[in-house]
Subunit: 171 residues, 2 copies
DNA sequence: TTGCCTGCAAATAGTTTGCACACCT
DNA sequence: AGGTGTGCAAACTATTTGCAGGCAA
């Protein structure tokens, strides 16, 4: 078993939470994957191992994990909330076209929370750093086929683009 | 009229969007306030000036403003999406207790997007930096009345706390 | 005059909640 | 044994969407 999963079991116990198979399973899935799955994706992914687990349990567990500071919560307007099992402080790069989320370690990122603490006296418990734009892969596709800017179609296309608007080009 | 509102009208026209009273009103409200209002708050706040304006229009306009990069979108899991009319790059400090959102300019914050561009080749269009925790005001209240940690009651309490969980204290 | 934008109302869907039973401790 | 956590289904509600008429250009 992953050492992080073991630490999770101990943390639950220490905090007075019960160590249930569902909680362990969800946590294990999150820290194992490099993806940023939604609640529903987690639910479906664990169907095999926990056939009786309900979506409600997934939501409740995710809330708990976020509160414990073990996973990051990535909510966007109009988008499904996604979860990030990597606890290290990093930048999330959200592609508005293919909807993928890429991680990038950024040196000195911890200085931001430090400023909040020292300059504003804010007690920081969690943080979140995101940039939105076009990932390198989509940039290549767009250059190859300029019409793709509007319709979006890529190698591994998760689904529809994050945003629709665009009545006409700059006049 | 605010010069930013004037610039907004011109931007709309240049992009081929129509300059409607609703759009201008919503934009003006957002850049005028220091708050981070939700769609519904904007809707209610503009009832007097635009009695016939519908919530749908507010949502559509907000989407447009975000797409144009004129306002920031602050979505949290389970929380209403809020909007930030201040276009300058800053840190949002979200208090988990009183739900207020405070702004803080942080020197060198623009370096983050720069790293994403240079190190990862990501084309940055928007960005978002947030820390979650306890604001100085709530910290004071909690010190004065330690029991307040659970129930949350403050000077100007917007409403219920952002998070509920907490079965029992650390054992 | 053209067709984008608004307003209305219904639909959508992610998430939450209440309750009874199960199982972790 | 005790009571937290789970599962189920219904409820909730923020947000989206379709359509007809209004108004910006």
């Amino acid at each position: 078993m992953n050492h992080r999963v073991q630490a999770f079991r101990e943390l639950l116990a220490a905090r007075g939470y019960r160590v249930t198979p569902q909680r362990v399973g969800i946590y294990e899935y999150l820290v194992t994957t490099d993806e940023h799955p939604s609640a529903e994706e987690i639910y479906r992914a664990l169907q095999d191992r926990y056939p009786t687990m309900s979506p409600a349990t997934v939501y409740k567990t995710l809330d708990l994990l976020v509160e414990l500071g073990l996973v990051g919560e990535l909510a966007f307007g109009g988008e499904v909330t996604r979860y990030d099992g990597q606890p290290d402080l990093h930048l999330n790069m959200v592609c508005l076209q293919c909807r993928r989320i890429l991680d990038l370690p950024v040196e000195g990122l911890e200085r931001v929370a430090q400023v909040a603490r020292e300059k504003a006296g804010f007690q920081v418990l969690r943080e979140r750093h995101e940039v939105y734009g076009i990932c390198p892969s989509c940039q290549r596709v767009n250059r190859a086929d300029p019409a793709a800017d509007d319709q979006a179609h890529h190698e591994a296309e998760p689904s529809r683009p994050l945003e629709e608007h665009r009545p006409q080009e700059v006049g």
